[in-house]
Symmetry: C2
Subunit: 271 residues, 2 copies
């Protein structure tokens, strides 16, 4: 029995998120089906990030156990022949049996994309969130700076979360404007349920002038979900990749990440 | 009776092109339906470019005649309330009755997007064409240079075209690499049926090394469709915009066009 690790990219538009649901097709389910077909075994993948319905990934991680004789590096290519076009396994390799994608130290990298223009753009509607009101990206960055570091993010967490430990560390949180596109890039040691989308929704409120940047501190201190902004829509969010203790699992290069090996490990490796 | 001009952006993925077809929904048909509903009249739009099935637009142009009292500039907003998310009218205005979008001097701007990477990217599969073999963009540009200017483009035209006049002028044709993305940007006074996609397919063959750049001259001279490369897939192509004698009709800014008014009119205004 070998444990195979997959790096998976997907367009989440047509899926009810990663995790198997009673109603609606999920990424996990499709991977299980296609890997089972490929190996002739009953395969159950374990994912690193259970992304929400409509959220995308360039480098989510999953593992599964198999007795198949397919060489580990060939699983990506073999299963891609069976997967629909909106799910692509971009890498496969063997890992030790005990290796679990959720129980290792890691850095997760997310991007939230906003189209900040008076009129929506049909060509990027599935991967950006459209905000027609002008946003002040400098104020958004000033607000973002209050969120970096180790904090109790209870105010930035869906109330239906099932954890009591709401302390997380954000390594970097950058707001980058390029014309009408605003990217919010965040890296951290883990994120609570809806945390990135609530951060995005709160920064959008700051950008519109509804909150002052310094109010972020009060929102954190309140430890109360209702104090933060709304959860921003899922289609703007992409899990860019996950870095396991020095071992970089990256998605593709479309987000123009700078991954020079000389660069210091400051939570910006995958961007 | 007034003539209203619309600038229309659309994701062509789910449509059988612009022009009304017996089987399958088209952009023209949806615009007719929604404008008829809006005005209570039977509206028939006339489009500038009859884009193929699966081809996108950021700034196609259409006109229609109406007795509606809706102010010309308000049509965009009003019809967007009724249109599906993948079609957006980005501008509306009144034009003189005789103004026809296909019978005016104009410059058309197209972009063809290629993802040149070993592995496809599910997040841009609907707006790029994936080429897994390495492409040499310098050779592609050298080949492109043979196509600029006024030529008989019979070799670069679908044989089912219904025109005898296959002479056109290409003002600019640039091959731009940005990481794994290659953009082919072309402007001209008009394009034959499938011409941009055949140019893209031919440049891809040059980029792979199957043709030498200087062979483009022979292909032009042959005036024979079979001499050029295959028609590249539709999803990579976007009609960026149309410029009518000094009057710029542009799509949105997502392609990061440089449209400074100082810039000389050399067929690069909309890029």
């Amino acid at each position: 029995m070998r444990r195979i690790k997959l790096t998976v990219a997907y367009d989440g538009t047509n899926y009810c998120g990663w995790q198997i649901q009673p109603n609606g097709i999920t990424i996990e389910e499709v991977l299980n089906q296609k890997l089972s077909k490929l190996t002739g075994e009953e395969i159950h993948v374990i994912g690193a990030s259970r992304t929400d319905s409509g959220v995308h990934a360039l480098g989510n991680i999953a593992v599964f156990d198999t007795n198949s004789t397919i060489p580990p590096g060939r699983f990506a290519c073999a299963v891609n022949q069976k997967l629909p076009e909106d799910i692509v396994v971009i890498h496969s390799e063997e890992v030790p049996q005990g290796w679990h994608p959720r129980y290792q130290d890691c850095t997760k990298y997310y991007e939230y994309h906003i189209l900040n223009s008076p009129i929506p753009n049909p060509l990027c509607r599935l991967t950006t969130s459209h905000v027609s009101f002008p946003l002040d990206e400098e104020k958004m960055q000033a607000a973002a700076n209050y969120l970096t570091g180790t904090h109790d993010f209870k105010s930035f967490c869906n109330i239906r979360t099932n954890t009591d430990d709401t302390i997380r560390t954000i390594y970097s949180l950058d707001v980058i404007r390029d014309g009408e596109e605003i990217k919010i890039r965040v890296s951290g040691n883990g994120f609570l349920y809806n945390m990135v989308r609530i951060i995005a929704g709160t920064l959008i409120r700051v950008g519109r002038g509804f909150y002052q940047p310094e109010q972020i501190k009060e929102i954190l201190d309140a430890k109360e979900r209702t104090e933060a902004g709304v959860t921003a829509p899922p289609q703007g969010l992409t899990l860019v990749g996950i870095e396991y203790s020095g071992h970089v699992e990256r998605g593709q290069n479309i987000l123009r990440r700078n991954t020079s090996p000389e660069r210091e490990k400051n939570g910006k490796n995958l961007f």
